[in-house]
């Protein structure tokens, strides 16, 4: 038998809706039943009937309160399983809202569900009255020959009811899908709040992971490539010092290799130094900055003004960002700041803010939007909720100011 697509869809939806509603009845009416019991017991207690009622009443109350999470879980399952609607797990302090759902809204919805299912069942029964009429005992049937006319009306009424059921069921399901997620799930602001908390946490995790990765790379390079290069340069140096008998061409080759090896060490050192120096963990930001400032190819004046007893007030992640800011900024000054003859790095603390200012006396005109160095720098500053400002008017001077929150 071929059922038209539309009817098939309607039928599928009706099946889904009715099973959703039918399943709602026990879940919705259970709390109603519990409340009814509590009410009854409460009346008994007030009237002074029975001696163990207070115990039972307390037990019923506790049961009602504690059944809330279980009922909520069951409702979430019902929505997910039958409607494909995922209600996020509510937070514990919003339980009273779901309690309200189970006790008040639930009872109402349960009633509507019962009505709708009754309508469906009576509809089916009425529409098929001719089918089962013969089975009804003779004396119960309508007692005169006109009964078939009445049965005809009953059939019509049944068909009308059946025709109305899909729309009513859909409406009721719609009502439930409004009420259920709104009352059982977290509310939108709470949802946002939780999302912000989640994101903050995961971002901090990502920042820490990136720091740990930098430390690991620094350590690997230190123990591996850097030692090998030094050893290579040392052996070439030994060759240079001892093999004095060699022809000049050979000596030149050794000389060149020796120079290359030393340059490679220098380059690698500069690169690794920008990652995460061990001294940053050991002695803090102040100590780590000396190395950066001294390595810069132009004179840098460094002024760090942190109270010594509070010099480790920032988290390692914030210190790492401050270090990176100075490192990148000085690299940038050396690379791009035209006609810069000197730079100045100032680190101060204003309340809970670590302020890093890097200034140079170049001709200015730096654009944060151009050049990936500054973009990366700004991003890294934002990763710890810092602010990044830059002023570089044409003609100079250029000043970069970074503020990092550093309350532990």
């Amino acid at each position: 038998m071929k059922i038209p697509l539309r009817s098939r869809r309607t039928l599928t939806r009706l099946t889904r809706d009715t099973s959703f509603l039918a399943l709602g009845i026990p879940l919705h009416l259970l709390t109603g039943f519990l409340l009814f019991m509590i009410f009854g017991l409460g009346v008994d207690v007030i009237m002074g009937v029975g001696s163990d009622e207070p115990v039972v009443l307390g037990f019923a109350l506790v049961l009602t309160v504690f059944s809330t999470p279980a009922l909520t879980a069951a409702q979430r399952w019902r929505f997910r399983r039958l409607l494909g609607i995922d209600i996020p797990r509510p937070v514990w302090r919003r339980q009273q809202r779901s309690f309200g759902y189970h006790c008040l809204v639930g009872a109402l919805l349960g009633g509507l569900e019962v009505l709708l299912l009754s309508l469906l069942l009576t509809g089916v029964a009425a529409a098929t009255v001719y089918v089962w009429l013969w089975a009804v005992p003779w004396q119960w049937r309508v007692g005169h020959p006109g009964y078939s006319t009445q049965a005809f009306y009953v059939t019509l009424a049944g068909l009308a009811a059946l025709a109305a059921v899909p729309a009513l069921a859909a409406a009721l399901v719609r009502l439930e899908t409004h009420l259920g997620p709104a009352l059982l799930g977290p509310d939108p602001s709470e949802d946002l709040e939780r999302r912000v908390a989640d994101l903050t946490e995961s971002r901090a995790g990502a920042v820490d992971a990136a720091d740990a990765e930098r430390r690991r790379i620094e350590r690997d390079l230190h123990d591996g490539a850097q030692q090998r290069l030094v050893s290579l340069a040392l052996n070439l140096g030994l060759a240079k010092a001892t093999l004095t008998q060699l022809p000049p061409e050979a000596r030149e080759v050794i000389d060149a290799a020796h120079r290359e090896a030393k340059d490679a060490i220098e380059e690698l050192n500069n690169l690794v130094r920008g990652l995460h120096p061990a001294v940053l963990d050991e002695r803090g930001l102040d100590a780590a900055l000396s190395g950066l400032a001294a390595r810069a190819p132009l004179p840098v004046r460094l002024r760090v003004d942190l109270p010594p007893e509070l010099s480790r007030l920032a988290t390692p992640a914030v210190e790492a960002v401050a270090y990176f800011v100075v490192s990148e900024a000085l690299t940038n000054v050396a690379k791009h700041a035209r006609e810069a003859t000197r730079a100045e790095v100032t680190v101060t603390r204003l309340g809970g803010i670590l302020r890093v200012v890097i200034a140079d006396d170049g001709v200015g005109g730096a654009e944060p939007s151009k050049g990936t160095g500054l973009t990366g720098l700004a991003q890294r500053v934002r990763s710890v909720d810092g602010t990044f400002r830059m002023s570089s008017p044409v003609g100079g001077p250029t000043m970069m100011s970074v503020e990092l929150p550093c309350m532990r």
Partner: protein
């Protein structure tokens, strides 16, 4: 040998003729082999090699060497173990000179190291060993009770100075000051800058005058003076 000796009272261990004995603490085996070669070339006898700080202290206690070559980052923590070991060597066995080697130099470690006594101390970048002859010179200087500071350390110290007094110096005088801070003698500075020794002496007199420092002739005293000027001395 063109020896740059302070030639003063600072008890230079052993006589010039005696073979000087050295201990090496370096966790990279590759580099340790190279360092042994360099030390032997410089006429030192390597009496012990170790890869970590505890072993170093034990070796120094046992052998009482003239000099200990110490890597800063060693097991177990790979941070500043070498610096801490060097400090306790200097405290317990003052006759043993210490030359710290490190991939990076940090002025804080230099400050710790130089806080008590600037004789028989060196702090150099590892890569300096590649310039074998210069390194050997620094090695001998430190073993003889002198000082050897890496130019990088000196540069880091200068970065911290409020610049006013330094700005009174000419570029050449700054160069001379940096070389003084590294622990070099007049002859060493003259050779480095390719000028005459008398020119160097004149520069130094100018520097000392401009910085209001007392005149002094012994190398380590000059270093002390320079360091004091840089705000690191006592």
């Amino acid at each position: 040998m063109h020896e740059v000796s302070p030639g003063t009272d600072e008890g230079s261990p052993g006589t010039k003729a005696a073979v000087r004995r050295a201990v090496i603490a370096e966790d990279s085996v590759l580099l340790r082999i190279g360092l042994v070669k360099v030390l032997e070339m410089a006429g030192f006898e390597v009496v012990a090699e170790t890869g970590e700080a505890q072993g170093l202290l034990a070796a120094v206690a046992e052998h009482r060497p003239d000099i200990a070559l110490v890597d800063v980052r060693m097991p177990p923590g790979f941070t500043d173990e070498g610096v801490r070991a060097a400090l306790s060597i200097r405290q317990q066995w003052p006759a043993t000179a210490v030359l710290l080697l490190s991939q990076y130099v940090e002025e804080r470690y230099a400050a710790d190291l130089l806080a008590a006594n600037t004789s028989g101390v060196g702090y150099l970048l590892k890569q300096r060993v590649a310039d074998v002859e210069e390194f050997i010179e620094a090695l001998r200087r430190v073993a003889a009770g002198g000082t050897a500071l890496d130019p990088q350390v000196v540069a880091q110290l200068l970065v911290r100075r409020p610049s006013d007094p330094l700005e009174r110096l000419t570029a050449r005088e700054r160069e001379v000051l940096a070389l003084m801070a590294e622990g070099r003698s007049n002859a060493g500075i003259a050779a480095q800058l390719v000028v005459s020794e008398s020119a160097v002496a004149k520069h130094i007199n100018n520097i000392l005058a401009k910085l209001d420092l007392p005149k002094a002739d012994a190398d380590h005293r000059r270093v002390l003076a320079v360091l004091r000027f840089m705000g690191m001395g006592e």
